[in-house]
Amino acid sequence: MKRGISILLAVLMAVALIGSAYAGGKAEGAKGAQKVKITYWFFPIVKTVPGMESTVKDFGDWEKYLAAEYMKTNPNVEVVSELQAYEGGVDKVNVAIAGGNPPEIIFDYLGRTSGWYSQGAAQPLDNIISEKLKADIMDSFKSLYMVGGKLHGVPGFAWNIGLDVNRGLLKSWGYKGEILNGPGKPYSTAQFEEFLANVKKVAPTGSYPFAIACGSEQGDYTWWQFFWGQGASLFNADGTTVSDLPGMVEGYTWIKSMMDKGYFAPGIGTMNATDVVNMWNSGKIAMIGGHKGSANTMKKAIDDGLLKIDYDVTIVPFPTKDGKGGFAAMGPTGFIILAKDAAKQKAAADFIEFQMQPKYWASQVSAAGQFPALKSVAALDLYKNDAFNSVQSQMVASFPAGNFALTDPNYNKIRIAMAAAGQAVYSGMKSPKDAVAGYLAEVKKIRGK
């Protein structure tokens, strides 16, 4: 009897285990058969939307609201919107693609979407999205999103990196001079050095005028700005050829000299972007390579009582040798469609187009504090009442977008190789010349594969 019960229990356990797994899959399948179901993955960008405070309270709420609005008019489509964390989110996408179960839509940074597309995980959109939407994309953005002659994604908006300057903190340190040539105005490297020296004189012990992170490849757009300022032009127009390396040697040499003089915080080779943001928010540095988002975090630090200074943040471009201004670093974020099934592709394209109507997209762009990729939204002049973004809008209009090879299929590897070269320089393991030579050899190896 005992033996019989034991066998029965064991069989039940095994059946329950297998059955529960099967049942989950089947229920999903049965539900999906009734409608076209599309999954939309995105990262934390929009936290609050003015006028929508009761609905949009945290990251992910805005996208859920848009999905719900879309489903009201498209009852045959089910949109599942899922917020992904920056930490581990990209790994999750990779695993989902490799496992053959990716979402139908991803909204993410161009440096990653182009990589997924180049590996064949995403669809070319030339024949999937409408002519109306294609015509609405600004030409400069459209060219950034072309991979192998095809439109690989729909650009949504882009950040632009400048130098955020905390005038409130400088005042509290006792700095009384001018902020270079004023908000948004170009200036020379020599002027910048003089400014840094003057700020350093009044900075309390343990505080620095500026910090830059090279502990990982994240934040590389800040280095590019300094390299461009030193005359480097690392990629040709097609974004595939390493060209002007002396400018890069000069860039590394100059950054290291700034660290050695104490103008830039020490430990550049090990610091990561979060460290720099922490220093900015705690008043350890007076400048950061950033945008409106960095200004907002500063405002929050002051509102939360972490910093007791007046909020007074403005933005200036990065320095250039001749003082006439260089390139603008633009980091676009956009949609890609990964669905293989025609019905899902159509639903995905339709949902993207729904979100990008000016009435929704204008809110999304301004909530993200970025610059729109659509002509219809740009025409609304979103930042006319925002002093910070007005200055930045002028900067974006004044300086051409620099190419840092975001659509290069090897972008990820190249930027990591560049971070390693920087770390070798800043930690004193290699001279700038040797580090750049090593970087060049690595890039050739990467491209040669």
């Binding site: 229990l9 064991a10 069989v11 285990l17 064949g120 990591i416 930690s427």
Partner: protein, 295 residues
Amino acid sequence: MSAVAVLWSRMRKEKAAYLFILPSVLLFLLFVLYPLVRSFVLGFQEANLVSAKWVGLANYIEILQDPRFHTALINTMLFVVFLVPTVVFMSYFVALRLAPLTSRWQTYFRAAFYLPVVVSGVMISMIWLWIFNPVYGLLNTVVGFFGVKPVAWMGYRGTLYWLMVVVFTFNFGVPLIIYMAAINNIPEELYEAARIDGAGKRTVNWKITWPLLKPSTFFLFVTQTVAVFQTWVVIQLLTNGGPAHSTETIVFQIYMDAFWYNQYGRASAMGMILLVIIVFLTLAQKLYAGDDVSY
């Protein structure tokens, strides 16, 4: 009778027992054995996110010729050579000091040393990150009192050794607990007899305690070797493999190849190389420990 027939006959005889372990066996097959076999096959392919093609031994040849892999291999071996004996012997000596204490003090020290094992590796790494921070870190504040300029602890050639200190704190708790339990299980009569024969403290430790802990020591050497070989979180969070790839280990490179570069074939081949190294070292340890180790 063949081995399969013997197994089949035993399974028919003990149906209930085998059915009870069936769920575990299925999970093992699905989540351990299948990925292992799949990884072995992938090692011979050039595989990205969506496609794979057969390349034979090309991944293995490329890895073995890659200077970055050589650095990772040396770093991994340095970790094992320095850390495993240090952790095992230190935990042995600390356990010897703690064993004679009252049970209340033993509980206190057990909890204190075991805490880093229970707390998430990410949390502890974040604390170390703050300690080592060149601008607002605790270590620089302390050395600053002696007039030392800020040091980038995670940014020079010796960074690997600082990482070992961090990994040590993670790995110390388990061996200590095991040694304390094992020491407390040694019959008191053995010590009494030794003392009557005139053995001193040191002699008792080396002639009685240490030999009787041989099974625990072997177990700890094997498990610590495997654990140290798989060090990843600390490197990922504290140095990200830098400066200039100088602190990368094999597991870190596997992670980078798979999840950053999407080179699943190369990552799998590297995983197989690591597996061979670990199996080889474990067999060597078993050989060295001899046959008198039992569980």
